[in-house]
């Protein structure tokens, strides 16, 4: 009988204070220095052939002198470095990521596979058009889905992200007004708007004027009518809005805007709540960007890339920017220059080449998978999930507005009054519970905002666990247990970071100790 070997019982419970480790690592969590600290000369992570000595350089003497200062790192070290870094990130694939207005839904891997087909991933934007007919067909098909879902006649595909789409839509509005010889100076934006709205309007020279909200979190129609005038170019309105509410007066808002000679720009960030149930074209919208990286599941990738096609009304469609796809016989042509236009009046070009093709493929793959029926079901489930959270938490947290909500539930920090716990503390305690915090301190119209958007990707079981956790935290805060919140997060790769220090003395790159890297004079 073998009496040797390792003990197999669990042994004594862990002591309450974990030991300091010599390595700085904590089990699976590996501390990882910068690439520049692990790299060294004489190592390379790729094998490239030696340059041919027989070649006569045609550089005209413009060779770089001196080293760049890049570290050498072998392939296994590079893999380990980035795998270790990745493990310090939260992700939708890991757990609930209820960032309000960001629509963190499941990112299907089929989309990734499709975008990497050589016929999509390995084609150049300036290949002869005859060699990319399938790509143009895909763009046309995507345009068909987007215009059908929104009931809008036109779409500009090239904007690279939501804010870029806003720019596209507002420039189209300005171009349409200028074509009529109509100079207007003001754009009306609700107080609850995302910061990109006023930033975009200001970037193209409009004065931004805020529209007040009603007590129930919507645009004050009477106040809006007051603000309208012959100098108003457009309203920029998010619908459903950033409080997660549908603007009940939206048709009246659109009509009043049109009566005053202005255009209705809709921020489509929250299209996920209404696709298949409400079409912006039926609401009187003139332009709306669609964040493919929100509604149509293209991955956020730690902050991009996005894609922000803009659907356009009859009045604005002719002003859509270059380039665009046009059917021609059995195939497609690409209109890249004004000389190729037939009656259109493009306002110019917003980007080099034709837009975010890789995102187009992913979004279409997602839409085809869902179909018209599935998209509608997804919107309904997103709204159902948000209302389930609202209904299950409103007795212990303070809901800012009466329900029902659309795809996201908004709470403020009233329920924390007198506890000494802030929205930020509460959010950081959620991290310890294994959740990504909700959007916090936005929208600005309520105090200490907590905006929860579960999306349709969460199961009921997952929501129930989340709700139990939120209720537990709420009780604990009200019971006066401040330390659990103020010190949070305890179980993250880092404790709270000093953002003040980072901004006072910005360190924006690595510099070798003692031997400062070559830099501009």
């Amino acid at each position: 009988m073998n009496r040797q070997g390792r003990p197999t019982s669990a042994g004594a419970p862990s002591p309450s204070a974990a030991p300091e480790t010599f390595s700085g690592n904590k089990g699976l969590e590996q501390d990882e220095p910068l690439l520049f600290e692990i790299g060294r000369d004489g190592i390379c992570g790729v094998d490239l052939p030696a340059p041919d000595k027989g070649i006569v350089s045609r550089l005209g003497g413009l060779e770089r002198d001196g080293a760049i200062g890049l570290p050498g790192v072998s392939e296994p070290e590079v893999v380990r470095h980035f795998v270790r870094l990745s493990q310090k990130n939260y992700a939708i694939d890991l757990g609930v990521y209820p960032l309000g207005s960001c629509t963190m839904k499941h990112n299907p891997r089929l989309n990734e596979k499709m975008a990497r087909l050589p016929g999509f991933g390995d084609i150049h934007p300036l290949q002869p058009v005859s060699t990319v007919q399938g790509a143009l067909e895909l763009m046309e098909e995507l345009a068909h889905w987007l215009t059908t879902i929104t009931s809008m006649p036109g779409v500009a595909l090239s904007p690279k992200a939501g804010a870029h789409g806003e720019l596209c839509g507002l420039i189209a509005i300005r171009a349409a007004l200028e074509a009529k010889g109509d100079k207007r100076s003001r754009v009306l934006v609700p107080e609850s708007a995302h910061g990109t709205n006023p930033a975009t309007a200001a970037a193209i020279g409009y004065e931004v004027d805020e529209i007040p909200a009603t007590a129930d979190g919507r645009v004050d129609l009477a106040a809006y009518r007051e603000k309208l005038g012959p100098d108003v170019a457009a309203i920029m309105l998010t619908n459903p809005n950033t409080c997660g509410l549908f603007e009940r007066d939206i048709i009246e808002i659109a009509e009043a805007t049109h009566d005053a000679g202005g255009y209705f720009y809709c921020d489509g960030a929250n299209l996920n709540a209404i696709m298949g149930r409400v079409r912006p074209g039926d609401l009187g919208v003139d332009a709306m960007h669609i964040n493919l990286h929100k509604t149509f599941s293209t991955p956020h990738g730690g902050g991009g890339p996005g894609a922000g096609p803009v659907v356009l009304s009859e009045a604005l469609a002719p002003f859509a920017p270059l380039p665009f796809v046009r059917r021609a016989g059995d195939g497609f042509e690409l209109v890249e220059d004004e000389s190729q236009t037939k009656g259109e009046n493009p306002f110019g070009r917003l980007v080099a080449f034709h837009g975010q093709m890789g995102m187009f493929v992913r979004a279409l793959s997602y839409m085809m998978s869902h179909g018209g029926d599935g998209l509608r079901q997804a919107a309904e489930d997103a709204v159902l999930n948000a209302n389930y959270i609202l209904a299950s938490l409103k007795d212990v947290m303070s809901a800012s507005f009466e329900g029902p909500c659309m795809h996201e539930a908004l709470f403020d920090d009233k329920f924390l009054d007198g506890t000494g716990v802030t929205t930020l503390d509460f959010a950081k305690a959620m991290i310890d519970e294994g959740y990504h915090p909700m959007t916090m301190y936005f929208p600005l119209v309520v105090h200490g905002a907590m905006l929860i958007e579960p999306t349709e990707s969460e199961s009921k079981e997952s929501l129930d666990r989340f709700i139990r956790t939120m209720r537990g935290l709420t009780e604990q805060a009200k019971a006066g247990d401040k330390t659990r919140f103020e010190g949070a997060p305890y179980f993250a790769p880092r404790a709270r970071l000093d953002e003040t220090g980072a901004a006072r003395k910005p360190v924006l790159r690595y510099t070798q100790p003692q031997q400062p890297a070559e830099a501009a004079e």
Binding site: E499, T500, A503, R504
Partner: protein
């Protein structure tokens, strides 16, 4: 020497035709930790109410308006290296700039300390 206040929370300490200008301790607290201050060029002239400087915390950015019209005659260079002075001593070492008064009559439009205190109390 008199200290006057604006509704945008600037203070102006007036001495011999010059005003030293800063933001009130209340404003500094509202902003949070100040991380950056952008100061005007010496020699520039402003009208009362013009944007003269910028003050930034991590979470907010705010303009500092000239409380009175006049020419900038000095700026507080210490803020460049140490913007925390605004939080530590908003009404002292954390001053922003000195302006030569173009029209002393404008001072009458500003609040005195008591009126400003009431004004702030009304905001709470």
């Amino acid at each position: 020497m008199t200290v006057k206040y604006t509704e945008d929370h600037e203070w102006a300490r007036v001495e011999g035709g010059e005003a030293t200008v800063g933001i009130s301790p209340y404003a500094a607290e509202q902003l949070g930790d100040v991380v950056y201050v952008e100061l005007p060029e010496v020699g520039k002239t402003f009208k009362a109410g013009d944007e003269a400087a910028t003050v930034e915390s991590v979470k907010a950015a705010s303009e500092v308006y000239a409380p009175v019209s006049g020419e900038i005659i000095a700026v507080n260079d210490a803020l460049e290296g140490n913007p925390a002075l605004v939080n530590e001593s908003a009404d002292g070492d954390g001053w922003f700039f000195k302006i030569k008064l173009a029209d002393e009559g404008e001072l009458a439009k500003l609040m005195n300390e008591a009126a400003y205190k009431d004004f702030v109390a009304g905001l709470e």
